[in-house]
Symmetry: C2
Subunit: 118 residues, 2 copies
């Protein structure tokens, strides 16, 4: 079964982390049957951490985990921190496919979204 | 004349900051005549800063400045840091209208964008 993990940065503010949980619930509904599980994870400052979310997906029976970084720009988190975490987990779970997607700032739809906000 | 400032966090990585400049150029093209100026600004770690970008817009003759935070979640930057900077600049330039928009993570189009990435 397929599992999607939306990776957010995490914040010191509870309401900011809650915003990610709300978004994840909306995404779960919008994606319908595409993924058996849709969860969020935080790079820092909140739980579950990325390793914890991957552990939970594997223990729930995920054969494939898609990791989608909810990040706008390719900073050090995208270039280094998140790939290193995923690399460790691939070594730990060699029978689980883990696909780290480009961060959402790379999406072609971002310009359209910005035009609607501007 | 109207001026749009896309506010990014800023990164230690040059390529990440350059990504914002490229996005700003694409947005400028996409928006056409909606704004006389479309520029970016960084909260930290790169230039121009938000105050510098506002100064430049005012000096270029902007009567209205729309500030669009290119941020996903309502963390401390969105709740406190950016509003405080804009508040200072409103006091400095009382004849210039400054409209601080919601951060883009609040956009209704975000779920659709995420579904396309997932």
């Amino acid at each position: 079964m397929n599992s999607l993990i939306l990776i957010a940065h995490g914040s010191r503010l509870t309401e900011s982390n809650d915003e990610i949980r709300t978004l994840t619930a909306q995404l779960r509904t919008a994606l319908g049957d595409a993924y058996a599980r849709v969860e969020c994870a935080y790079l820092e400052l909140s739980q579950p951490s990325i390793p914890e979310a991957i552990d939970a997906a594997v223990h729930a029976g995920a054969q494939k985990i898609v990791l989608l970084p909810y990040f706008l720009a390719a900073g050090t988190h995208i270039q280094h921190h998140i790939p290193a975490i995923v690399s460790d987990k691939r070594a730990q779970y060699p029978h689980t496919e883990m696909e780290l997607r480009p961060h959402i700032g790379q999406s072609q739809a971002m310009i359209e979204l910005l035009c609607n906000c501007a």
